[in-house]
Symmetry: C2
Subunit: 437 residues, 2 copies
């Protein structure tokens, strides 16, 4: 009998893990270059924390359970709610507080292509400033991370919740169905206008208002701004939202996003906690589609008992990146190990181990045989692992001090003295790691 693993979860063998590590490391490096600092919170949160954010759909997706003491807990379903809890408990952190977190979250959803129940998110957030520069900094950092991973051809869709809210106010739609309208609009790209119109009608919105709502979504870019400016100028909330949109456009060049920003009034971003700018990054290269998204959530932290604290952030979909990049990143799956020390004869194992340790001290990742195999089998093993060099250690070699260093791919053997192995390896293309201190 074999044992499986929970649906929607995955194991990552070393070849796969190396690619994931490489993706996460590159993202991390860009986040740090932009001044974001890592923070970590538990996988487990108290149930009341997870439930505070609201949003029935998300609540349904939370792994929820009682611990042995009867306390209700849950696995975090995103990285933003834990951040909000931390901020509310640490009011004295210097602001703006720029943090990143690249870590696992859990959602009990129906698994499908690219969607898992345990998955990694890479989030950056800026807490403590209401300014649009912070939203732009999140966006530009996310785009830089994607550039670092080889993507180009970006389209950054932006919208503003204040405009959406102003829109329904101007139309005189009841407040309690506004969320329903937003959720319907959010699906526009996926299901088309007809379906969205039906969904909004089903909420009890009259026909004339349905078509006006859809009108808003038909314009893109500058034209869109002009249109809503005209339609919604009576609504101060909407005007605020429009000004924020304009400011994003103005700053786009400075933030390296010129020519990428597209205003789209159907962009809602599912999560209920957004209060201002919302955004989504797509890239045309590698057919990846939407790969990052986020927005401003100025009222979330006070829900956790903190002072009212503006905040904005963006989340990169690491699983989608892994799916798209794993093909082309096969080069990352070579082992770190540069040299396999093959031992001829049981009696020479201790010397092989010593030589191995000597190479390691010189910063050269090395392994030696741990199975007492014949030379041929050791070479096969090194080859199957993709280790580029084999150093052969037999009694004769130990006596003379001259060893054979075999380049596995070219099948060439070089006579070397031990002390020359590190420079030889470096010269032949196996760059050493930094030696341990």
């Amino acid at each position: 009998m074999k044992f499986g693993k929970p649906r929607g979860t995955r194991d990552f063998l070393p070849e796969e893990m190396k690619i994931r590590r490489e993706i996460m490391d590159r993202i991390r490096a860009i986040f740090e270059l932009h001044g974001f600092e890592e923070m970590d919170t538990p996988a487990l949160e108290l149930w009341e924390v997870l439930a505070t954010k609201g949003g029935e759909e998300v609540e349904r997706q939370i792994y929820k359970f009682q611990d042995k003491g009867g306390r209700w807990l849950g696995l975090r379903f995103d990285l933003t709610v834990p951040l909000a809890r931390v901020i509310s408990n640490n009011p004295d952190l210097p602001k703006p507080f720029k943090r990143y977190c690249i870590s696992k979250v859990w959602r009990y959803e129906e698994p499908q292509s690219g969607r898992f129940r345990e998955f990694v998110q890479a989030d950056i957030d800026i807490v403590g400033t209401p300014r649009i520069e912070a939203d732009m900094e999140c966006l530009s950092t996310a785009v830089d991370a994607l550039r670092e991973l080889g993507f180009d051809g970006f389209e950054v869709k932006i919208n503003n919740r204040k405009i959406l809210e102003g829109m329904v106010e101007v139309l005189g739609v009841e407040n309690r169905i506004a969320d329903g309208i937003f959720h319907a609009l959010d699906r526009l790209e996926k299901v088309g206008e007809g379906e969205v119109a039906r969904a909004i009608r089903a909420l009890g919105v009259e026909e004339g208002k349905v078509s006006r709502l859809l009108d808003f979504t038909r314009f893109k870019g500058d034209e869109a701004i002009a249109y809503v400016e005209n339609e919604l100028r009576s609504n101060s909330k909407a005007v605020e939202g429009i000004n924020e949109l304009r400011r994003m456009m103005e700053l786009s060049k400075a933030f390296g996003l010129d020519g990428t920003i597209v205003v789209d009034f159907s962009l809602v971003r599912g999560l209920d906690y957004y209060t201002g700018p919302v955004f989504e990054v797509k890239t045309k290269s590698k057919g990846i589609g939407s790969i990052a998204g986020g927005g401003r959530y100025d009222r979330l932290i006070e829900k956790f008992g903190g002072a009212p604290t503006p905040a904005t952030g963006i989340s990169l979909g690491v699983e989608r990146l892994y799916e798209v990049l794993s093909g082309e990143m096969k080069g990352c799956t070579a082992p770190a190990t540069k040299v396999f020390i093959a031992s001829i004869g049981e009696e020479n194992i201790p010397e092989s181990v010593k030589i191995c340790r000597e190479l390691i001290k010189n910063g050269i990742p090395s392994e030696t045989d741990l199975m007492g195999r014949k030379l041929g089998r050791q070479l096969e093993y090194a080859s199957s692992r993709g280790i580029p060099f084999v150093l052969i250690v037999g009694s004769e070699e130990l006596r003379t001090g001259t060893f054979k260093l075999r380049e596995m791919e070219r099948k060439i053997e070089h006579p070397v003295r031990l002390e020359d192995v590190p420079s030889f390896i470096t010269k032949l293309g196996g760059s050493p790691q930094q030696a341990p201190g």
Copy 2:
């Protein structure tokens, strides 16, 4: 109302997280130098997987719950059981399979100093070889990782389960109480001989045998081997264990562990799955005590339906390392950010952002003001964050092309041209990261 977090879990703010990251990165680097490769498995496992390993105590500590589909799941309580499941499901992995994993595990235990319900383990394991070289490789890699973290003065306690089993066989103790005896012995160092003797007596073992059992534990080192060799020579299992111990001593020099190994027949290591060598690393420096432990578990993988597969491994206690090192590693908590670009006047923000991005492109971690603050406040912020340089950008500077670069600690300002900032920073001690590609 403020919200807490589950008992025994922790948040790590950036200063703390940097130290943890540094510890984990250094351990990771040593693991990779020794040819171990990273593997990842889900935090969630099917209940039957977690329960398979056996051990009632551990089972009591598992966070166990039903998912919304009624399936029983649990959070992993160690990194070895998931490894065994993966190996049994992937019989074709090249052997030996050397994997590492530095990740979180969960145990519902009473939190106390240094013990948490969510904590990080750093494990290495070698699967597919029964040879003692593999056990030694795990031990020496763990000790090298500890050396890299600045420890010295190691004591590596070793024992062998085969000797313990032979011991109870020779004494004619019933099999079903052997585990009870082992658990009692395991507590010798903590509770002393009297308490252990009482515990063994309580299992129904007669007085003469109790004192013989304790006799075994009184000898250390070579004397200990000679003693058990004499006492247990009739028992083939014990003899096998003694030979393995001897081989470990023989190889200790080659593996860089000469003078550190101490035979201790009271060493059991709680987990029930060990079958051969067991070991524990202590270090006298920094008063850290036992910091790594492990052993051979040749029969675990077949329990998961795999072919009988020898395996051995060791686990480093990252939380204990963090506790001991966090004081002296304060130097790691400096921000990655080297330059804060202070903007004088709202109108110069876009240019400041551009300059910031230019520095980032040159591999210099940089930030700019995101709050529209006055210069004085910006300088205060940079200072409170510990950012070493501030570049001041005002209209005058933008016109002339000469900027003021302020060394925050020495309170000195240098006139610089933009293109000279990177080399200036490098020269003054802020080494650049590798520039993004």
